[in-house]
């Protein structure tokens, strides 16, 4: 092991970096649901920056925070409402603006902010968007535009630039995208601005202005989606996309909205394009219906309890049916080597982005296509592309498999602490637990057989690519056994990885195999 690798340790060993306990809270934590952080957005995603700018603008605006509500639709940006510690609502897809309209009309004193993505506001919610702008509803809309449907796998949408490649336009998008500022301005918005998230200060100032201006105010925040849109268009990291904004964004406040189309590689015109006065829906309502009082004055919103309410109690929830699993169902497992068993269950778990699901698929293919045995493969993951809990489960058997899910795995490969905590209790008697030793701290009291493999560290420092950590782990699985022959697994790895990376992945596999064998040999010697 190199000196550098030895010097790498857990967080509390970081020289000069204070740990969470030592320091106070982030100044924005008052307006964030801290218990839900870190959030689900990928590394390099700009939605978090847009939220920072919004919170900063809101704190500066002096608005009464008890009278501010945030409404989001569906999608990555749709999660914003769930992270902001204000009255917030996560609506159905595309319906953020209709919900916000109702909220505002029933509570005219509230400031209602719609914070959602391009797919939600401009695609499925496009009609609501233009009609709310036409009515000049008193809403502030912050539209985070990342040019594609991020949460569902990077499909093209109505804001994808022409010729941009996405997962559903692999030769390039043949359609023309919506120009969001032009759409908003033409439909009647009173304030329209566009910034990239790199223009953090200007974006913050625009949101501040939009919050305080009456009428339908729109701020478009261009944000990177490195995981999907960026990966398809040669800007794989958040920093690549920020660099692109740095080079191509120009500020032109006097630009006409119809001139600010966004192309695949051309300039991105930013600025405040529209700032006009028009009577809002609320003002027109009050002028034409001076006799109608708000619902609150009539006592309709806060109805006093009646005798009908008294006897009402929610029905108790039915008890959860816990399925008892006995080791007898699992089949026989030798205590020495997992690979001798006729029926083996294994679970690979970690967080999204580590390649857990791909590793599971490779293992399943190895069994079914190369070992010619029976296999099932099931996967579970959250809506996020990166960072969420993620698990792949494989059942290997000589006979037809009647139940495809894993209940008592003989082998668990855990690459994240939370995954370990969730699943290690399921390990069958005599099973083996493979862990990424830098990311998982095993519980010594369980007495389980643990094989520590620093897969991420090996991938990053010895092989130069953190992405192959999953293949290092597969190598380790081959060494432990797991009911899959080493040749089959190696063959399956080489067939499943992208062209041109076979050699790197073969080295990763062999290194993982060799490392795990070394660990097991030394543990037997002890």
């Amino acid at each position: 092991m190199s000196e550098e690798a030895q010097g790498m340790g857990m967080v509390d060993e970081l020289a000069g970096v204070p740990t969470v306990e030592e320091i106070e809270r982030h100044p924005m934590d008052d307006l964030l649901r801290g218990e839900r952080l870190p959030h689900i957005w990928c590394q390099g995603c700009g939605i978090g920056t847009a939220v920072s700018c919004f919170i900063s603008a809101l704190m500066r605006s002096g608005l009464d925070l008890d009278k501010v509500a945030v409404v989001s639709g569906i999608g990555c940006t749709g999660r914003v409402a769930g992270y902001i510690r204000l009255d917030s609502f996560h609506t159905t897809h595309g319906r953020a603006i209709p919900f916000a309209t109702g909220l505002k009309l029933a509570n005219p004193e509230m400031k209602v902010v719609v914070f959602s993505g391009d797919g939600d506001l401009i695609a499925i919610g496009g009609n609501h968007f233009i009609h709310a702008a036409r009515r000049n509803m008193d809403l502030t809309v912050i539209c985070v535009n990342n040019f594609n449907y991020g949460m569902t796998g990077g499909q093209m949408g109505p804001t994808t630039p022409t010729e941009a490649r996405t997962s559903t336009s692999r030769r390039g998008n043949l359609e023309h995208p919506f120009n969001v500022p032009y759409l908003a301005a033409a439909a009647g918005a009173t304030y329209v601005a566009r910034w990239t998230v790199l223009h953090a200060r200007r974006l913050e100032r625009s949101i501040y202005k939009a919050l305080l201006k009456p009428g339908f105010t729109v701020v478009e925040a261009i944000s990177p989606c490195p995981t999907l849109y960026g990966r398809w268009n040669r800007k794989k990291y958040g920093t690549d996309m920020f660099e692109y904004y740095h080079q191509q964004a120009v500020i032109r406040h006097d630009a006409q909205p119809w001139e600010v189309d966004i192309g695949l590689a051309g300039e991105i015109v930013c600025g405040e394009f529209v700032d006009v006065e028009r009577p809002t829906f609320q003002q027109m309502y009050e002028r034409l219906h001076p006799d109608v009082r708000p619902a609150e004055d009539l006592g309709l919103l806060h109805r006093p309890p009646t005798e009908l309410d008294a006897g009402f109690e929610p029905a108790p929830l039915p008890p959860i049916d816990v399925r008892e699993v006995t080791p007898a169902q699992v089949g026989t497992v030798s205590t020495a080597q997992v690979s001798e068993a006729e029926h083996v269950e294994m679970r690979l778990c970690g967080f999204g982005g580590q390649g857990i699901v791909l590793a599971g698929l490779i293992a399943g293919k190895a069994v079914a296509l190369h070992d010619h045995r029976e296999a099932t493969f099931t996967q579970s993951y959250g809506p996020e592309s990166r960072g969420g809990a993620c698990s792949a489960a494989i059942v290997v058997s000589d006979e037809a498999i009647l139940y495809p899910y894993v209940t008592r795995p003989n082998l668990i490969a855990a690459m994240y602490q939370e995954a370990y905590t969730t699943y290690h209790g399921q390990l069958a008697e005599g099973g083996v637990l493979l862990i990424d030793e830098d990311l998982v701290q095993p519980d010594p009291e369980t007495g389980q057989r643990v094989v520590p493999v620093p897969a991420t560290r090996i991938a990053e420092q010895e092989l130069g690519r953190a992405q192959v950590a999953n293949v290092v782990m597969l190598g380790a699985i081959a060494a432990v056994g797991g009911g899959i022959s080493t040749e089959a697994l190696r063959q399956s790895v080489l067939e499943s990885v992208p062209k041109g990376t076979e050699e790197l992945n073969a080295r990763a596999f062999d290194r993982g195999y060799e490392y795990a064998q070394g660990v097991m040999a030394s543990s037997i010697a002890e």
Binding site: G16, P18, P38, G46, T49, R201, G387, Y416, L439, T456
Partner: protein
């Protein structure tokens, strides 16, 4: 700070100083703070947090002028600056 020519009213201005704090467990290692810090205060560290990302660390904290760009640009709410008196 090195000045090309000393302005006549230089005494009237005070360069603020900031202290950077990093909540390492929230970091996802996107490097935006390191790349866009105008005073080049931060660098990526070798250590890892619980999810295996490399958080940044302040390599030259004395250079920070509390502009708070890192605080605003960080997508993870994990870095913030407190303005302190140098004296």
């Amino acid at each position: 700070m090195k000045l090309w020519r000393t302005p006549l009213d230089v005494e009237r201005f005070r360069i603020p100083h900031g202290e950077v704090s990093i909540l390492v467990e929230r970091c996802k290692g996107c490097q935006l703070c390191v790349r866009y810090c105008p005073r080049d205060v931060l660098e990526m560290s070798d250590g890892i947090n619980a999810k295996g990302y490399h958080p940044p660390r302040a390599k030259s904290p004395e250079r920070c002028v509390a502009c708070r760009l890192c605080e605003l640009i960080c997508p993870e709410f994990c870095i913030y600056v407190v303005e302190v008196d140098r004296e």
